[in-house]
């Protein structure tokens, strides 16, 4: 059994390593290009932003269907790697982008003037600028990869279930066989391998990246902005001047493609986003025939998807959306309520912090889905426990985003403010209310944005978890539950429809709720960036 486990862990790691390497490479190339070229930037960042809102797991069966048909032998293997790629890529790409963007213009000009070769430019400018951010994001990517481990190795489509060899699939197999010793041993092996990789690879990498961290690249006052904020302010700052100087750009716009023209000249950003989604949907429909092999006509694909919509009933899709939305909100609220006191205590007690943080980092990297069976068993009795169980499953996938962004926000509060609190004897509550919370709010909201995306992504597991013939699902409707059922029925058109619905909702929620909350908090707090 041990041999089997070790082989499976090795295979899982091999897959994850390949996917991570592809992610990192793609992130470096795309990130640097869009970071240094405004033109690329204007196209790539909105595309990334939208793609990142597509629910990965919902998209997965569609991709599997296509890949398995297209590449007979390696199809499932590729599909598995593809899934891991989709959950490790975004944060890496955005961090590289941020890093490349932080390079001061003067430095780029000096490089141009001194005619540095591309290799030297990479070595002297770009790598130092992006390396720390990239390395910082690796643990998060790894944690994500492990979160979707089981999902990436056990592929269900239309009653058929294909397992690729790996520890996620193996543990599920043990579970079906009731082999609890196997489960325990598998979990311990995975945990140990993660700890080993953490200590032997990630920590040295992080230590190595410190070499670049305090270079003159960033003046000390410029705090490293959290990922999404950076992206958002970026998007904002790009569009603001363009709106004003649209005439001068009109000539240029002709040379750039349609999407970008829509982007820059005619639309206010919300409408632009929606249009973008519609273009994406069009693309999907255009690609539909390739995905859905029996239809050779794009229009027919539209009809099929529309029919699926009628079949499901718009009301029931809307209802499922509403329930899921509520679940996501409750989950975020609970996580925030738990995080704030925890982070407050950790920040104020440096010795607790230095003891707890490494432990937390390892726990965060552990594949929480492997304890899903335990949770589903614990919360099986009754509707309310099941709701709670589902929310807990969601939280396991997104808690760390909230935690680390709050921690970042709290620990960036300048010493002077804390000294103020000390001099004026402010109570814990007042310190939290007058100093920590206001300072941390932008970072916290950023974390909540990411966590909300994560929570939506995990809905498909959290609302309906099938394992070894047993199914754990919430009694009330939910979009994740719907998707999971549709994937099982291999109802591709309906699945496409739900994926589109979820993407639009996530985008709208991001735009209308989170984005305005972020703007509001910046305004209310009078923080001037």
């Amino acid at each position: 059994m041990l041999g089997e486990i070790i082989a499976a862990v090795t295979l899982s790691w091999a897959r994850i390593t390949v996917a991570l390497a592809i992610s990192a490479l793609a992130a470096v190339i795309i990130g640097i290009y869009s970071g240094i070229s405004r033109r690329v930037d204007r196209v790539v960042i909105p595309v990334l932003d939208i793609l990142q809102s597509v629910p990965i797991l919902g998209f997965f069966p569609v991709a599997v269907y296509y890949l398995a048909n297209a590449v007979p032998l390696l199809g499932y293997e590729l599909a598995s790697i593809f899934l891991i790629f989709t959950c490790t890529f975004w944060n890496l790409a955005f961090s590289v982008y941020e890093g490349a963007r932080s390079i001061p213009q003067s430095l780029v000009e000096v490089a141009e003037l001194s005619k540095l070769s591309m290799r030297d430019k990479l070595r002297k400018i770009y790598i130092p600028a992006i390396f720390p951010g990239l390395v910082d994001q690796l643990p998060a990517s790894l944690a994500n990869a492990f979160y979707f481990l089981a999902a990436s190795e056990v592929i269900t489509l239309g009653g058929a279930q294909v397992n690729v060899l790996g520890i996620g699939a193996l543990i599920l197999k043990y579970q079906e066989a009731g082999n609890y010793a196997g489960i325990a041993l598998g979990l311990v092996t995975v945990a140990l391998s993660i700890v080993a990789v953490y200590l032997l690879v990630l920590l040295p990498l992080i230590a190595y990246s410190d070499k670049y961290r305090f270079d003159i690249i960033q003046p000390p006052e410029v705090q490293r902005t959290p990922l999404i904020i950076g992206v958002y302010t970026r998007i904002k700052s790009i569009h603001a001047p363009l709106g004003v100087k649209s005439k001068r750009l009109a000539g240029l716009a002709h040379r750039i493609n349609l999407i970008q023209m829509v982007n820059t000249r005619y639309m206010r950003s919300d409408i632009r986003r929606l249009l973008f989604v519609i273009v994406m949907i069009g693309l999907l429909i255009f690609l539909g025939p390739r995905i859905y092999a029996s239809i050779d006509d794009a229009w027919a694909a539209v009809v099929v998807v529309a029919e699926a919509g009628l079949r499901l009933g718009l009301i029931s899709v809307g209802e499922a959306l509403a329930y899921s939305f509520l679940r996501v909100l409750v989950c975020l609220a609970l996580m925030t309520a738990l995080t704030l006191p925890l982070v407050f205590i950790i920040t104020e007690k440096p010795h607790i912090k230095s003891a707890l943080l490494p432990a937390f980092q390892i726990v965060a990297a552990l594949p929480s889905p492997l304890i899903f069976p335990l949770i589903s068993r614990l919360f099986e009795a009754g509707a309310l426990p099941r709701e709670f169980g589902a929310i807990l499953l969601m939280a396991l996938g997104s808690f760390w985003y909230v935690f680390y962004s709050a921690l970042g926000g709290f620990s960036h509060v300048h010493t002077e403010y804390l000294e103020l609190a000390k001099m004026y004897n402010l109570s814990s509550f007042k310190r939290l209310r007058y100093i920590y919370l206001p300072f941390a709010t932008p970072s916290l909201v950023t974390g909540l944005i990411t966590a909300s995306g994560g929570a939506w992504n995990t809905l498909i597991i959290a609302e309906r978890l099938g394992q070894g013939g047993r199914i754990f699902e919430v009694y009330s409707p939910g979009l994740g539950k719907l998707m999971s059922t549709l994937a099982e029925l291999a109802d591709i058109p309906a699945l496409v429809l739900t994926v589109i619905a979820m993407t639009i909702v996530v985008l709208l929620v991001n735009r209308l709720l989170w984005r305005s909350l972020y703007d509001y908090s910046i305004r209310a707090l009078r923080i001037h960036e």
């Binding site: 300048h414 002077e416 403010y417 000294e419 103020l420 000390k422 001099m423 004026y424 004897n425 402010l426 109570s427 007042k430 007058y434 100093i435 206001p438 209310a524 707090l525 009078r526 923080i527 001037h528």
Partner: protein, 255 residues
């Protein structure tokens, strides 16, 4: 000139920071400073020599590695409302108005009623010439005005000892001058709180203008290079021979 009675005293104070390799980088070593009762003490020294660190130790914000701080005859173990520090870059909370920022210094005091706290805050805001700006936010103020809000906040607690860290940094000469007048007024007006003031500044003219005694720091770890008593009467005339001589003397001691 050391006063007969001492308000605060640093005794053999050594402080430093732990470096990565485990070694300790000493910033100040065996420092002895006495702040007399009713004294205005100026401290000057090159940038980075540890002046802010000394003020933080005097305020009870950091505990030195060794040595003791004696305040009013007792060992100082932490912060006290009797000692106020105005930071080098005054931390005003951007989401609080001028009034609320000043009020914050009193918010935890149980010996005053809500009404008294409010009254005190607005009195101090008036004193620093910011009447009418109570409900303005810090980002709406100029650098000099912000500095004055910080001064009001430092004074609102009725401290015995006021510690000023570079109150004139980031200010243009004219604004420095008016802030200096403000401090002088506050100092000479006997009904106003601080019994003693310790001021760190690079602006030597203003240090000579205000201080009863100047301590010149230097070296690494920092120690006292010289002490210059300023025995001019007040108000002091900047154009006088003696003033020039003193400014020159302090300058030559630093460089």
């Amino acid at each position: 000139m050391s006063s007969p009675e001492t308000l605060l005293e640093l005794r053999n104070v050594t402080h430093g920071y732990h470096m990565r390799a485990g070694a300790t980088l000493k910033i100040i070593e065996n420092l002895n400073i006495q702040v007399g009762y009713g004294e205005f003490l100026g401290i000057v020294g090159p940038s980075g020599c540890g002046k802010s660190t000394i003020l933080r130790i005097m305020a009870g914000l950091i505990k030195p590695l060794s040595g003791t701080v004696i305040f009013r005859g007792e060992v100082l173990t932490g912060t006290t409302p009797r000692i106020s520090l105005m930071h080098q870059t005054p931390p005003l909370l951007p989401w609080l108005t001028v009034g609320e920022n000043v009020y914050l210094a009193l918010i935890s005091r149980s010996d005053l009623t809500e009404e008294e706290k409010r009254l005190k805050a607005s009195q101090l805001i008036e004193l620093v010439d910011l009447a009418g700006y109570e409900s303005a936010y810090p980002h709406e103020l100029s650098g000099g005005m912000k500095q004055r809000v910080a001064l009001a906040r430092a004074l609102v607690t009725d401290p015995d000892l006021l510690l000023l860290d570079e109150p004139f940094s980031n200010l243009d000469p004219l604004t420095s001058l008016s802030l200096s007048r403000e401090i002088e007024y506050m100092w000479l007006e006997s009904t106003l709180p601080p019994i003693s003031v310790v001021m760190v500044s690079h602006n030597i003219e203003e240090v000579v203008m205000l201080s009863d005694r100047i301590i010149v720091l230097g070296g690494r770890p920092a120690r006292i290079l010289a002490e210059v008593p300023i025995e001019m009467g007040r108000p002091r005339n900047k154009k006088s021979e003696e003033f020039y001589r003193l400014v020159d003397e302090v300058f030559s001691l630093i460089s």
